[in-house]
Structure formats: C-alpha cells, structure tokens
C-alpha cells in the first residue's frame, strides 16, 4: 500500500491574502509538509520560485500587478523557466467555466475553487504527486496533458501521431510513468477527448466535477494505478500521446 510522504515535499503558497496563506499553510503542515514558503504576489512568487525551486506551487488568481494566471504563464516557459514542469494548483474564488478553461490553457495541473477544505486540497496534492502527467508542447500550449480521460466514443481524427515526439532527457523514464512505447506498439486507436472541438461549442466534458469528487469516496479523476500494478493493461487506463 502506498502513501505520500509529504515531509519531503516543498510547497510555495502564493496569495495576496494573509489569512488565506495561513489557512493553506496550516492544512499543508497538518498533511506533513515541512517546507512551506509564502509569497504575497506574483512578483515575489517568481523570485521565490527561481531561488528555491519548490516542488509544488499553490497560487491564487487575483493578485495585484502579476496575477496568478500571468505567474503560471511565466513559469510555463520551457526556454526560460528553471522548472517549467512544476505542478501548479490554482486556488481561486473564481468558479466560472471560462476561468477554469483559461487556467487549464495556461498550464495549471489542478483547479481548486474556494472555499477550501482539507479534503479538496489533499485530493489536488494527491493528484499531482501520485499521478504525474506528461507534458504537451505545441506552438500555442505548454503544460500538463489536458486529456485526462480516454473517450471511447470519440470518432474524429487524431491530432497526435502514434509516434509522438518524446523527450526523455538524460534520465531513464520513471517506471511509474505511462509507457509510450507500449502504447505505440498497440494496435488500437487511443481516442482522446478533443478539447478543441469542445471549446468550439460542444459540451465541456473536460471539466472535472470536483464537487462530485469531493462528495464521493472515490477519486474518479485519477488513473487506476491499482489495476495497472495488478497487471492490467495500461491501454485500458489513461491514453496519451497518440
């Protein structure tokens, strides 16, 4: 059975509201996080990010001068950021769909609406730690793979080639990562949700029903690693990069 050892995780909390920073800090420390750094605006967050390379960033949206969205966009610059892959959780009072889409398209990993709860924050942290997602780079987007779910009903063309460009850098891939070679070798079309089509006016099936997740026992947003570990076929799980 696996558990998350939060004592090894460092978190940067960015919020212009001191009380909200205190609340988030208290929750994180109760989870076991020992290194919590705070920043009260986007500019000081960037400085803290460059100096301390936190493992996770939790940021508010509405802040003076550099807001949370701009902060995410600055961090998700693969050519200039010192860690463009850092998991980012957007914690905001905004709950409108267009805001969620904006945050997603800027490259946030998770979106968490205030009011905050211990459970909702834990689930977002759990998601970014236990289920790391590959990143996608196009001319218009750099960020975590926005396709969380395989859509078995999708019949349209595939924008991603079966031979996706993969940069594994210098290290061996994490064995817990999705095995692209195995997926490439498969003969099935791994249909994905087409977010562009959705954005163009279809139903927003990309929205995660966080309320339902929070209310329920199951984290329906996640890959079923239990099944994978038990020897199940990964192709039945999340599909990526094809």
């Amino acid at each position: 059975m696996e558990k998350i050892d939060f004592s090894q995780v460092s978190v940067l909390v960015v919020d212009d509201n001191m009380h909200m920073r205190k609340i988030v800090r208290a929750l994180l420390m109760a989870f076991g996080v020992r290194q919590v750094q705070e920043a009260e605006d986007g500019a000081s967050a960037l400085e803290a990010f460059e100096q301390n390379s936190p493992d996770i960033i939790i940021t508010d949206w509405v802040m003076p001068i550099i807001d949370g969205l701009e902060l995410v966009q600055m961090i998700r610059r693969p050519d200039s950021s010192n860690n463009p892959f850092v998991p980012i959780i957007m914690l905001t009072g905004h709950a409108e769909k267009r805001r969620v889409m904006q945050a997603r398209d800027a490259g946030v990993h998770e979106f968490l609406c205030k009011p905050i709860s211990a459970r909702s924050l834990y689930l977002r942290l759990y998601s970014v730690i236990a289920h790391p997602r590959p990143f996608v780079k196009t001319t218009t987007y750099f960020g975590p793979d926005r396709r969380r779910f395989a859509n078995p009903l999708y019949k349209g063309p595939e924008r991603r080639e079966k031979r996706a460009l993969i940069d594994i850098e210098d290290e061996q891939p994490d064995m817990n990562q999705i095995d692209f070679d195995a997926i490439d070798a498969g003969d099935q079309d791994t249909n994905q949700i087409d977010f562009d089509a959705i954005d163009a006016g279809g139903e927003d099936t990309n929205q995660i029903d966080f309320d339902a997740i929070d209310a329920g026992d199951q984290d329906t947003n996640q890959i079923d690693f239990d099944a994978i570990d038990a020897g199940g076929q990964e192709e039945e799980q999340e599909r990526v990069a094809v």
């Binding site: 696996e2 998350i4 090894q8 929750l27 508010d60 409108e96 080639e161 993969i166 594994i168």
Partner: protein, 191 residues
Amino acid sequence: MTRKSPPADKRAEEEVEVVLPAKTLRHVVTDDGRKGGPQIDMDAIQRAEKALDKLSVSFGMWMGEEIDTLRDAHAAAVAEDMKGEARDAFFRAAHDLRGEAATLGFPLVGQVAGSLADLLSMLPPNLEISPGLVDGHIQAINAMIREDARGDDNKTAIALANCLREASGQLLEAHGALDNDIGSSAETDAA
C-alpha cells in the same frame, strides 16, 4: 531520446511534442509492502481538519479585518469615482472576501461579496455603477457581521443575499456582461 513525425491530419498543422518530465514527485510515495496503489490518507485529512478547527478561534477577528479592508477599499474607490487602481483594489477586497468568507464561517457574506465582485469586474470600467447598489452590498455585509449571521441558514441574510444577487444579475444582463456560468459561481459561493 526524441522522435518526430508529421501531423496526423490537415487540421493538425502544428507539431505536438509530448515530454516526460525528468523529475516527478513519485519518489515521495512510500510503499509499506502491502498490495495496492497510492491511498488517500484519511488520517492526514482529519489532522488538517483539526488544524483548521484550531485556527477557527481567530476566524471572527480575521473576518473583522477583511471587512475593514473592504470598507477602506470602498471609501478609496468612491473618492476616485470608482476608477483606476482604487476600483481594482476594491474588487480584489470583495473577491478575497468571496473566497474566504465561507471558510471563516460566513458563507452568505461570501455570496454578497461575490455579487459585488462580479459587478466590479464584469461591467465595463467606464460604466458608472449605481452607488446605491454598491452601498447596498456593503451595508448588507455590515449587517450580516453585526448580526453574526454565520452559517447558511439565516433567513434574513439569505433573502438579502438573493435580492442583491438578482439586482446585480439584472444590471450585468442589461449591459451584456452576465457570465453564462455566473450561476455556478453563485452556487459555489453559497455552498
């Protein structure tokens, strides 16, 4: 290792690159030897809920500070004819209250603050917002704090919040500024 290939179809003119980050946080996932994948640690969640409960002794004072900030920001914005940075700061104060009030035990205050924040952010900056409507929001928040309207079951506070939300919605709609998803925001505020 890098592999490239041409796009799959005409729609996909741009090249799509999938990158596996070299560093993930999977190393902080510990295994106790028993079968099963990562588990949600309910003990950690309960510890955090207790920590929040301990912190709650300060919530009344924090709420007072937030209300003071909102009042000051309102006064400054009025002095600047609801324009420029003063208006932005007023919006931020209302928006902060929208996000924080429910956690501090005053969800209906959060709902009214959210209605005010929507007025300040969604209407065109050059449009004069009725001072009466803005004042109505501030007075409602003051009254809720004065009456210690915690929780979400104070009937007068609910009626007040709904009335203001409706008035704001009508104004936003009249100026084509009503967000189609504003209902979700309101529901979240009220939750």
